[in-house]
């Protein structure tokens, strides 16, 4: 008797995506699918704490450009009289896979103007022009050992921009590890205090490494790193934050489609995967409770799934 063939988790993931996302995205799905299976669009998040004034020029010579400030200007222009979009608005779930940063995707998900007045951030993130697949050279340390930029999927930045941190805000990053978005929050220069929490001790180690490689001591002192289960945050403190980022665990679509290791579509993790929307909801609730009245919460995932995005938020 033959044993059942083992289907690799990536194939299971793609089958799942094919059935649910083709319904959801229709004719856009083939382009998105191909984009998931090709290399992501990288952004170089500049490290304002490093002594690296030469870097913007170097990057410009390579033909890369900061995408944040032009977008911010456009947003301010669009503010005048333009209606804000539907569920794709920045305050709600922004599935990173769908953003304009996806390589090879002709379909642009517009960066809808935020509901707040401006993207007043000092964040600078360089990308190569559309269709240009050049890679960034590795980051280099300055005289003090701080790296000059952090390479990430450019789309990862959008939730941070949407949060629109204002000077002296108390900010909570509820699922902070491995730390790319945390670093971006610090780049705003506006965090009066930043609480970076993640349930996973091992991933929190990576977060520490990022902080040590990019951020000077005096700024690191304004960050408190914790390892609570985010759902229990109200037991830590509630209603104190101006801004809360809830970047929840999800099916990490790109990773699940490409990597066999540590893949949530593996059969033995089926229960875990099916419980995700509930977990995500609980984390979002905790994040909302952690925000003070008038504060803002941004919920984000790196999945395209409506079950993990719109459904949770609604």
């Amino acid at each position: 008797a033959a044993t059942a063939p083992r289907v690799p988790p990536t194939r299971l993931a793609l089958h799942y995506f094919d059935s649910s996302y083709s319904l959801h995205l229709g004719a856009l799905w083939p382009s998105v699918r191909a984009a998931l299976l090709c290399e992501q669009k990288y952004g170089a998040l500049l490290n304002s704490f490093a002594a690296a004034e030469h870097v913007p020029q170097e990057l410009q010579l390579l033909n890369a450009a900061d995408f944040v400030s032009p977008a911010s200007q456009k947003a301010q222009q669009a503010q005048q009289g333009a209606a804000v979009g539907e569920a794709r608005g920045c305050q709600e779930g922004s599935g990173e896979g769908r953003t304009a940063m996806q390589e090879g995707m002709v379909t642009q998900a517009e960066m809808s103007p935020p509901l707040c007045t401006s993207i007043s951030s000092k964040i600078k993130c360089y990308t190569f022009p559309r269709g240009d697949v050049t890679r960034f050279p590795p980051a280099r340390p300055d005289a003090l050992g701080l790296l000059d930029y952090y390479l990430l999927d450019a789309a990862s930045l959008l939730p941070v921009l949407a949060l629109d941190v204002q000077p002296d805000d108390f900010v909570l990053d509820l699922c902070a590890a491995p730390g790319g978005k945390t670093l971006a929050l610090l780049q705003t220069g506006c965090c009066g205090h930043l609480a970076a929490n993640d349930i996973s001790v091992s991933r929190t180690k990576r977060l520490y490494q990022v902080l040590h490689s990019y951020v000077p001591r005096e700024v690191r002192d304004t960050v408190s790193v914790t390892s609570y289960d985010g759902r229990d945050w109200d037991q830590v403190e509630g209603g104190t934050f101006h801004k809360v980022l809830v970047d929840v665990p999800c099916t990490t679509d790109r990773h699940s489609a490409m990597e066999e290791d540590n893949n949530i579509f593996h059969k033995r993790r089926t229960k875990e995967r099916q419980m995700l929307p509930l977990l995500q909801l609980q984390l979002l609730m905790a994040g909302i409770l952690a925000a003070r009245p008038g504060g803002a919460v941004v919920y984000s995932t790196c999945s395209l799934s409506p079950l993990q995005n719109q459904c949770v938020v609604q």
Partner: protein, 294 residues
């Protein structure tokens, strides 16, 4: 069919080459050569063009080569054009040209197909016989094309005889195993007309878009696009009707894929230095090593 074309040339040759030469400027040596060519059926202009090729070559070479081409059934104009494109043919002994045509005819390339194949790929004359035979063996014994299918393939894609064997084999295996396509479809689609790299680009683009799936074992029906549409359509039409995508998307995809393949190759080379493995060829049989290498 060659007999038809012999009409002009043969009659003149039999007559001992004594038609009057046309009036016009020519060197002492050229006059006789031009006359000979004219009796074979070339116009004064065509004769002049032929004489301009490899001028230091003796006239017998020129005439012999031209004769062979005419015997093959090429028109005088086609013969001149071919020689202009590949003057190196003039250096081959006429016997070689004749033999090669014979060999190709035996393989099933005949009449118009032979003319077309030779006109388009004059290198077919130059390729060593052993290579030709190895290519045919590959197609018949490894790829299991029938004799009829082989004739069809040679007629539509004569360049298979010139292709690097390894690449040819890989292209076949790719279509067979990765794309799940069988010999008949490969022949109908004229698979080998498309460079292997381009086939991979188009197929993988479809695959990643979710429009092409490798059939499972035993699966006979698929909703995959036909190989014919993938291979025969222009890039523009392929993108519009099969891939449902844009040139821009495809360009970016090709760049990304090229880089992936480059990096995969580097990895494979590294792996070679660490393992002792033989080839990873899937094949019907696995006696790759028995194939004669030239």
């Amino acid at each position: 069919m060659a007999a038809l074309w012999l009409r002009g040339a043969g009659r003149a040759l039999r007559a001992g080459c004594s038609l009057p030469a046309a009036p016009g400027p020519c060197s002492r040596r050229g006059c006789g050569a031009a006359a000979a060519l004219r009796t074979m059926g070339f116009s004064p202009e065509q004769a002049r063009r032929l004489l301009a090729l490899q001028p230091r070559l003796g006239p017998e070479h020129r005439e012999a080569a031209a004769t062979q081409l005419l015997l093959l059934g090429l028109s005088p104009e086609a013969a001149v054009a071919l020689l202009e494109r590949s003057p190196a043919l003039l250096r081959l002994p006429a016997e070689r040209l004749r033999e090669r045509a014979e060999e190709l005819r035996r393989l099933g390339l005949d009449g118009g197909r032979l003319q077309r194949a030779l006109s388009r790929c004059p290198q077919l004359f130059h390729v060593p016989r052993k290579r030709l035979e190895a290519a045919v063996r590959l197609l018949r014994e490894r790829c299991l094309f029938t004799a009829g299918q082989l004739r069809e393939v040679l007629g539509t894609c004569p360049t298979v005889l010139l292709e690097e064997h390894r690449t040819l084999h890989h292209q076949f295996q790719y279509a067979y195993f990765r794309m799940g396509v069988r010999q008949k479809a490969m022949v109908d689609a004229r698979l080998f007309q498309m460079p292997f790299a381009e086939l991979r680009n188009r197929h993988i683009f479809l695959e990643r878009r979710g429009l092409y799936e490798t059939p499972h074992k035993g699966q006979t029906q698929t909703s995959n696009p036909k190989l014919k549409d993938i291979v025969q359509l222009s890039e523009k039409d392929f993108l519009a009707s099969v891939a449902c995508s844009t040139p821009e998307e495809y360009e970016v995809f090709k760049k990304l894929l090229a880089r992936e393949e480059e990096e995969k190759e580097e990895e494979d080379v590294d792996a070679l230095y660490t393992e002792d493995d033989g080839d990873d060829d899937d094949d019907f049989d696995s006696d790759e090593s028995k194939t004669a290498q030239e």
